[in-house]
């Protein structure tokens, strides 16, 4: 990666956030928007920092709900993707059901979940997992369905058993797609946790803090918690991007890894 490209990758997103905050500030100031309707960006940020002692445990709770639900959803989604690919009958039977699960409004799903699972972390985990698993399943399934058939035949001819073919050919082919699903899931996961918190919470939560701030016409508190929720989503997304970076080196490298036993450096003309 050239230095120019690296700088662009770092400063591009920062610049877009600064422009967004600038636009927000301009709208509030030039539009003469009352502080109980919409705050200035800095006031929203200050509403978080000045109440951090209250918000920190609530934020950590939301992060835990997000992580637990995400991991369950991601694992379940990947597993289902593989199962549906390996057992075509299951794919025909279950695929419509999977689509059906996503047609159910989460907001309608939340109250029965609370009835069954109570007010703790479980309903939130289920809601997040419910949101996350579908894009992961579809992505994995799509990746596995598009493995080069000729390569598969070739591997078979050379005596590779099904497990070997899966590990060497199918999994690497599906992993890029898997991360697409994981990234989509990462952006939605926090939304699921917040919906769960709104549906039912014991004690306090980030969503209830926001609702309470809204009831007190504390727009800075409302926007501040929104920024906080957004930050959780973005950080989680970036972590997934980081995991993708580490897990898919071939996306950045056209040559084979040199650490493999017996591998020799491949000379290129570049």
């Amino acid at each position: 990666m050239t230095k120019k490209k690296l700088l662009l990758n770092i400063f591009g997103p920062i610049l877009s956030v600064v422009v967004l905050l600038g636009l927000w500030q301009a709208i509030v100031v030039w539009g003469n928007v009352a502080p109980y309707i919409a705050p200035k960006p800095w006031d929203a940020i200050r509403a978080v920092t000045s109440n951090w002692s209250t918000l920190a445990p609530l934020t950590w709770w939301t992060i835990k709900e997000t992580i637990y639900g995400y991991l369950v959803g991601a694992f379940l989604g990947a597993f289902l993707g593989v199962v549906l690919n390996k057992i075509p009958l299951m794919q025909r039977v279950l695929y419509p059901l999977l689509i059906l699960t996503q047609a159910i409004p989460i907001i309608a799903l939340a109250p029965p979940l609370v009835m069954i699972l109570g007010f703790g972390v479980m309903p939130k985990v289920v809601i997040v997992a419910w949101i996350v698993f579908f894009p992961v399943t579809v992505s994995v399934l799509d990746g596995l369905n598009h493995v080069d058939k000729d390569l598969m035949t070739l591997a078979k001819v050379f005596g590779a058993n099904s497990m070997r073919r899966f590990l060497v050919l199918e999994m690497p082919a599906a992993i890029t797609q898997l991360f697409s699903g994981l990234k989509i899931g990462a952006t939605y996961a926090v939304t699921g946790a917040i919906i769960g918190e709104l549906a039912a919470s014991s004690g306090s939560s980030l969503a209830l803090y926001q609702r309470s701030a809204s009831g007190s016409l504390d727009a800075a508190g409302v926007y501040g918690t929104t920024l906080l929720m957004t930050a959780i989503g973005i950080i989680w997304f970036l972590l997934v991007v980081g995991a993708e970076y580490l897990a898919t080196p071939w996306q950045r490298r056209s040559t084979a890894r040199q650490w493999r036993r017996g591998a020799k450096p491949v000379l290129t003309n570049n």
């Binding site: 009352a34 109980y36 309608a108 109250p111 549906a199 014991s202 009831g215 007190s216």
Partner: protein
């Protein structure tokens, strides 16, 4: 305080679109000669407390006062005042605690009439339960998470000599199924919502501790409010609206069954049964007049009591002059 928050919220978007036309449908022909007024309710969906507005439209009281009133529903509770200040609504229906909070936030709104006159908020348990303030310690108590409930719970705790950590506040979208299942011990609501809901589910009246017995200040719960700007520029509309609402309220108090029928016809998909609305409206009617039998009349005492009480539980920081909160000058 209202029942089935989430399920009604789902229907809220549809309601918001349809209600505008439903209520004004009968007056479309003459709408051009009438003054348009946007009324904003306090909840994302309609329930029986909106009956005076429905009757005023259905029975022609708005029209007789030169008004064409459309009804809007807010996206969530406690956002009605914001909708008024942004001009999305002209006359709003809010709780008195919302009003106090709005004044604290320097939102230019003022209460123009009481809806109810007494505090009918309290704690409720399923029929046959034991509900005492002394027995609250360690219990799970349901809250709707709205400003009014947030404001009232500290008073209950104070009267029960408990700390916030002595109870578990549970927030959700529907209290009755949780109460029936035993997931929560008690719920919080007003008599006109809790009693119909629990009675409908159990066929028996709930156990309750209400008002002063629960330690809460005896102040009106709901008011009609407008912005200062609207009051100054469209005082005639405010006066006409309240005149029509008063006539409609009296009519609906005398013809309860017909009033509920009007509500059910206006909002057939409200999510509330005829039983619930009938029982709820019957319980609402006695709340609408003061000891002298008067509608709407606000007093310095009610606002001072409320503001002092809310300050004592840190919901607001200062107690302004009562005139900051209200005016009776538009009363019919």
């Amino acid at each position: 305080m209202k029942r089935n928050f989430l399920s009604i919220s789902v229907a809220g978007a549809v309601m918001a679109l349809s209600s505008i036309t439903v209520l004004s449908a009968s007056t479309l022909a003459s709408a051009s000669t009438l003054t348009a007024v946007k009324f904003v309710y306090d909840f994302p969906g309609p329930d029986m407390e909106i009956i005076p507005v429905v009757v005023a439209e259905k029975e022609g009281f708005f029209k007789a006062n030169g008004l064409n009133v459309s009804v809007e529903f807010p996206p969530s509770t406690s956002t009605t005042t914001q909708l008024l200040t942004t001009g999305s609504g002209d006359i709003g229906f809010i709780t008195t605690s919302d009003m106090a909070v709005a004044v604290e936030a320097k939102a230019p709104v003022i209460s123009v009439a009481n809806y109810s006159m007494t505090n009918n908020w309290g704690l409720f348990a399923k029929p046959g339960s034991t509900l005492t303030l002394a027995g609250l310690k360690g219990k799970k108590i349901f809250s709707w998470g709205d400003t009014w409930t947030n404001a009232m719970i500290p008073f209950v705790l104070k009267k029960a000599h408990l700390k916030a950590s002595d109870i578990t506040i549970v927030t959700g979208s529907n209290d009755t199924p949780l109460l029936m299942k035993g997931t929560i011990d008690f719920t919080t609501s007003t008599t006109n919502y809790a009693i119909p809901g629990i009675t409908e589910a159990t066929k028996s009246a709930p156990v309750g501790i209400v008002g002063a017995a629960a330690g809460v200040p005896n102040v009106p719960v709901w008011v009609y409010a407008v912005t200062h700007n609207y009051a100054n520029q469209h005082g005639k509309n405010v006066r006409g609206f309240l005149k029509a609402i008063k006539a409609a309220t009296i009519w609906a108090s005398q013809h309860k069954a017909k009033a509920v029928a009007d509500f059910m016809a206006a909002y057939p998909k409200s999510g509330y049964s005829k039983f619930y609305s009938t029982k709820g409206w019957a319980l609402t009617v006695p709340l609408l007049t003061n000891a002298a039998g008067k509608y709407f009349v606000q007093t310095n005492k009610q606002w001072t009591t409320l503001a002092t009480a809310l300050k004592s539980v840190n919901l607001i920081k200062s107690v302004p002059a009562p005139s900051t909160y209200y005016t009776n000058k538009f009363l019919p």
